[in-house]
Amino acid sequence: MYEIAEKKVWSDEVPGVKEFKIKAPLIAEKHQAGQFVILRIDENGERIPLTIAHKDLRNGTINLLFQEVGKTTMDLGRLKKGDSIMDISGPLGTPTHVERYGTVVCIGGGIGVAPLHPIAQAMKGAGNNVISIIGVKTKNILIYEDLMNATSDELLITTDDGSYGHHGFVTDELKSLIDGERKIPIDLVVAIGPPIMMKMVCRVTEPYKIKTVVSLNTIMIDGTGMCGACRVSVDGKTRFVCVDGPEFDGHQVDFDEMMQRQRQYLKEEKIAVETCQRQCSR
């Protein structure tokens, strides 16, 4: 059992965004940027992957941030401080390759900012010039502004509705960095967020041959390379996100296939949410 030491509600609107600080000293000890955990809330629960947003080695805790988009994340959102999660397995996946590249642009979309944070931190720690771009739909669901500010040499924020920062998309800011007045030479782009955002970021960087790393969040069960549910095509070859990833060269990822595979359980997910809502309203 893993106890929830703290709970923070970032947004109570639907879908809610929440963050737990969880006691898991062994996982905290081994965690490196880019790695994730798989959790199961209780005996009837499913296993879902969540990326570690940050860790506290001294207190032996990890932070997990999630958006309530399905039955499991909704159940998770109802847990309170002091409650426990039955199973957490991790840290899983291959850590981010961190070195001194020069200028690294870290792009986070929506709650993708949470897993981006430890990577930006590690890139900064390795002596890179870190420029971060955060994009959200609207100001209310902006997360980690302070943390990203602290780990970035420069932080740019975009909102789809113009309620905060630049009115537009992360790709606009990226284009203007590359090709605008400043013409900043970029050595690496790291993008984490909705698949469509990562795909668009890759489309921007590809003509300039800027190496672009994306972190994929696919359907998983065991997280150890046993089931193959998470498979994606990278450079025409089938790879497993859970062990070969979650990070891949974005220019080689078949995003369309990945997005198609993400739709496999939409029908069942709807049934699960409806069943849950019926039971909860009773």
């Binding site: 081994k30 009837n44 159940d75 840290p91 069960i221 150890t224 046993m226 193959g228 549910a229």
Partner: protein
């Protein structure tokens, strides 16, 4: 009619009553294809007794030699005959700590029952069914008995993986007086016994019972513990004080055919399909949260036990058409005979000498059909089975909604790749000096089961676990084995 005279002629020669091999009652196929309850009910006291009489108590029993863990088979059958079932259980448990499991999933027809003398003229003694009867009787009537335990040695051993190999090894080591911790990557122990083999073939309560028994003996189980990630083998030895490590992490890598269309929606590895249904209990969705799609037309590729498990699961999930597609013929299928028979009774459609060449999808990326080619058998290959050869121009399509790939499992590289100094072969199997000792290239590290041999059977992994436990004991206590 025999004349009285003839009867008198040979009064001393005991005439054995001719008892047929006792059938095991099973759930009606029409009923069982819609539930996940166990298919065979097991012997009754009466049928077990009758079956035990069929054993002729050979002086030199071949069955023992053919058993990977050398159970005293005539010995335990004799006790059934005498009505002392608990003693029969004690005899089995001397050599096999998981009898309820092996009685259900061992390929007896290729082992003990294959060499049974009774079987030369008649059907062989149903050793597996008797083993199951004894184990189930003991579970119901026996009290927990603490086995003979050696004094504590204070030595710590780590067992990586809680499948049959890991459980068997842990059970032996704890009795030898060592402190044993079993590390399991998933949230439940049992390995393939819980994620792979379905409830209708091996009820999960039985596996849990065996795990609970080991816990009572003092074995510590750590779940959600992916060795290679949260702790490496080196950490276990250098930081955590384990003096020996047994790697029994199994054959946990799905194999695909590398044909076009394998990433379409509705194509699964058998590992995924079975793990969803068995470990995650998706067949109880939405009571359990993990989903599994209840497809109407499912093709399972392969002819082994895993393929049978997957296709019969598909049927129980509501498939109208559940196919086995296998490139060789019926005779070459590696699955246990009983599983094939059960599958046939349930209406599984066998498409033999048929090989998939691509999976076809609709415009939204979902499976719509599988294109296959007809095969014929040519010359025998290195496995001794006749090699299937495609028949030119015989391509055809089968309309389906889902495909499950059950063509074998590879070795998962997670542990080996995080353990410097551990040698593996080109398939990723850990190299050991012999399967009796399981000694790897790395000091203090032993290995056994599927991670050494490639995907095999429960009993072989169990046998390896037992053998390696003895070798670890030699290493720790007598220093008779070293590096």
């Amino acid at each position: 009619m025999t004349s009285p005279k003839e009867e008198e002629k040979k009064p001393e020669k005991k005439k054995r009553p001719k008892i047929p091999r006792q059938a095991m009652p099973v759930q009606d196929p029409a009923v069982r294809i819609r539930n996940f309850n166990e298919v065979p009910y097991g012997y009754t006291e009466e049928s077990a007794k009758l079956e035990s009489i069929r054993c002729i108590q050979c002086k030199k029993p071949f069955c023992i030699d053919a058993c990977p863990v050398r159970i005293n088979i005539p010995g335990f059958i004799k006790k059934i005959n005498e009505g002392d079932i608990l003693e029969a259980a004690r005899i089995i448990k001397k050599d096999n700590c998981l009898p309820a499991i092996c009685g259900r999933v061992c390929p007896q027809e290729d082992q003990c029952e294959r060499v049974c003398i009774v079987g030369k003229k008649d059907a062989s003694v149903a050793i597996g069914r008797l083993e199951r009867y004894v184990a189930d009787y003991e579970a119901e009537h026996g009290k927990f008995e603490m086995p003979e335990m050696a004094p504590k040695t204070g030595r710590k051993v780590a067992v990586v993986g809680s499948g049959p190999g890991g459980l068997a090894c842990a059970g032996e080591l704890i009795k030898m007086g060592h402190d044993v911790t079993v590390f399991e990557a998933l949230h439940k122990s049992g390995g393939v016994l819980v994620y792979g083999i379905p409830e209708f073939r091996l009820p999960k309560a039985i596996v849990q019972r065996e795990v609970d028994y080991l816990a009572k003996l003092g074995v510590e189980f750590r779940m959600n513990f992916v060795v290679g990630k949260i702790r490496t083998v080196d950490d276990l030895i250098e930081k955590d004080g384990y003096e020996a490590v047994f790697l029994a992490n199994g054959a946990g890598l799905p194999v695909f055919m590398n044909i076009p269309g394998e990433n379409l929606n509705g194509v699964y590895s058998a590992n995924e399909y079975l793990t969803r249904s068995n470990l995650m209990k998706a067949y109880k969705f939405p009571d359990y949260d993990t989903p599994i799609t209840r497809w109407k037309n499912v093709a399972v590729i392969g002819g082994g036990n895993v393929a049978m498990d997957a296709v019969r699961t598909a049927l129980r999930l509501g498939a109208d058409n559940a196919y086995i597609i296998y490139r060789r013929s019926h005779n070459e299928m590696p699955a246990r005979k009983e599983e094939i028979e059960h599958a046939e009774e349930e209406g599984i459609q066998f498409r033999m000498l048929t090989n998939p060449i691509r999976v076809l999808g609709d415009k939204d990326g979902w499976v719509r059909a599988i294109e296959c080619i007809k095969m014929e058998l040519g010359e025998p290959d290195e496995s001794g089975r006749r090699r299937p050869v495609p028949i030119k121009g015989s391509e055809f399509e089968i309309e389906i909604d889902a495909v499950v790939m059950a063509i074998g499992s590879g070795s998962n590289p997670l542990v080996a790749s995080s353990t410097p100094g551990l040698n593996v072969n080109k398939w990723g199997n850990i190299i050991v000096d012999s399967e009796n000792t399981g000694r790897s290239s790395k000091k203090g590290v032993f290995a056994g089961g599927d991670i050494v041999t490639g995907a095999a059977t429960v009993i072989l992994a169990m046998g390896a676990g037992r053998n390696v436990a003895a070798a670890i004991n030699e290493y720790l206590v007598y220093k008779a084995i070293g590096w």
